[in-house]
């Protein structure tokens, strides 16, 4: 048994903070709620110096969490794959995330849970010797692109840069290894595009910074089967295809298939289903006359309709 796994023996249930105690944003750090100004980690935490960290991000919309259980479940899977452990069980974690939102007073929130390897004992190099650290925070909801930008038409750059291979880093563990994505963003912005996605070694589309990528061709929806984060918003779009009777293929997606698509959209907790208007500056067939396309529109509407379904909704208690 590793030292870090000992931390999970006794679940702790933290007390709920006062409503609006840290209005506009709240962090949970060292076992207590605090203002965002205290959201700092040690410069020596391996979570920074080795990016030895996993995280997840849930959202609240109009005062309720969306698919919170799915985010918590994925976070615990990521922890296990990383040999990380937190001192909270699923219920306590849920309480902490609710507490962050309650204290922030945010109706529409970006709610992160983070676990770092921790600060090593003096001179240590063995990751098993660090005490893992847990953080959570609530910030205002963040859009991958604003609604105005979505309607004006997001221009997606397809980078030749390769996403870090699953042979190196398991992409199903939500991670901060983003140098490849950041460099692709520089390429995109310097050339006037709005965002970017990267490929794998075989030239198939993988993902972009914080989102999965979907193509629609002749009424069929396509998305990558491997080398990508299994996004909760991606899962939502996949499930919506099932419930709406839209044919779906989850398989390797060549760059050419994306360039030749009838519709393209991306999925992210930062906006749900977001229509793409242009690929590397070239408008998709329906832009701007029939934009967003019909299937993107159905999935977009379906995504937001699910927010009203009690099965996926977890209301926050904001009462004083």
């Amino acid at each position: 048994m590793s030292i870090s796994s000992l931390a999970s023996v006794e679940p702790v249930v933290p007390k709920a903070p006062a409503a609006n105690q840290f209005e506009g944003g709240c962090v949970f750090i060292d076992g207590a709620y605090a203002p965002l100004s205290e959201a700092k980690i040690s410069m020596f935490d391996w979570g920074f110096t080795r990016s030895d960290v996993t995280y997840d991000v849930a959202t609240t919309w109009h005062g309720s969490f969306f698919r919170l259980d799915a985010h918590i479940e994925r976070f615990f899977v990521s922890l296990k794959k990383m040999n990380l452990a937190i001192q909270y069980d699923r219920d306590a974690l849920r309480d902490i995330l609710h507490g962050c939102v309650r204290a922030s007073g945010l109706q529409d929130g970006y709610v992160a849970m983070v676990c770092t390897r921790g600060v090593p004992p003096k001179g240590a190099r063995d990751p098993r010797q660090a005490q893992n650290r847990f953080y959570a925070y609530a910030l205002p909801y963040m859009w991958i692109a604003s609604r105005e930008k979505q309607l004006a038409g997001i221009d997606l750059h397809i980078s030749e840069r390769q996403r870090i291979s699953p042979a190196s880093v398991d992409p199903t563990i939500k991670n901060y290894h983003w140098m490849d994505l950041v460099q692709s963003m520089f390429d995109a912005y310097e050339n006037g595009h709005d965002t970017s996605c990267v490929v794998d070694a075989d030239g198939n589309i993988t993902e972009g910074p914080g989102f999965n990528v979907f193509a629609v061709k002749d009424g069929v929806v396509y998305t990558a089967d491997r080398g990508v984060l299994e996004g909760i918003s991606r899962r939502t779009a996949i499930e919506l295809c099932g419930s709406l009777g839209i044919p779906l293929r989850v398989a390797p997606m060549p760059v050419a298939a994306l360039r030749d698509a009838d519709e393209v959209f991306i999925t992210s907790s930062g906006g749900g289903v977001l229509p793409i208007a242009k690929i590397d500056g070239k408008p998709l067939p329906r832009f701007p006359q029939q934009f967003p396309g019909p299937i993107t529109t159905r999935l977009y509407d379906g995504y937001w309709a699910m927010h009203d379904d009690p099965a996926f909704s977890d209301p926050v208690d904001y009462r004083a």
Copy 2:
């Protein structure tokens, strides 16, 4: 011109701190020297949440920096490749690093310089919109393995995990993308080995967590030519081969070549030239009778002898 590059217009020369002001360790943060307890970064800095950061580590030994110019030069090359900028020029950076050591009073020191992308403006996603942040610190010298462990015999695990490919992250930029290396360390420790190295997609040896790998066979020294950090200690070993007349091949190094080697050593600022005794538990030919091997010993001695050469040495002023 990006916002971040504006930061480099006016070089600032910070004042030297008092000698021993922060005995045992010192950080330079927000333009001032401070105790290690203040060595914290924002949880929202993209240097953490995207591992969008580069760094370098120099060392002091017996009161002098070793090859400080080479570390500073590599750091500036990494900054440029990353589209990062700091508000200090090379001379000011040198002064800051000397200041950290002077304030810490450390004769044998681990001296880091770090630049993060910075905290984004509210809701921003464009890396050009962040103001880059610079940090430096001095800690006690850190060994990859203690001298006792080196002589007892370091056991190196060859992992099947792949180092992040140069097609994703340029390995000549010193970076914190270590999830692959950390997972290989878990494999090593769980199986009783002391450390690990990882391979590339073609099955060639790349590097380990914080070190380059060398093999010696029939009097010839081998090390990887690609997919690795171009370590300053690696360079020192390469240059020593030249000056000592030891044949050297810098080329892809198959796993089999390492397993079949007469001698193996690793190079790191955390100990210079460190002899390896065993590969995955199997002793190398000369262990323990003639260990370290003759070429490793010559390079080991040469490495430390260079510390007395004024051409590579930069003494710290510790006077009050």
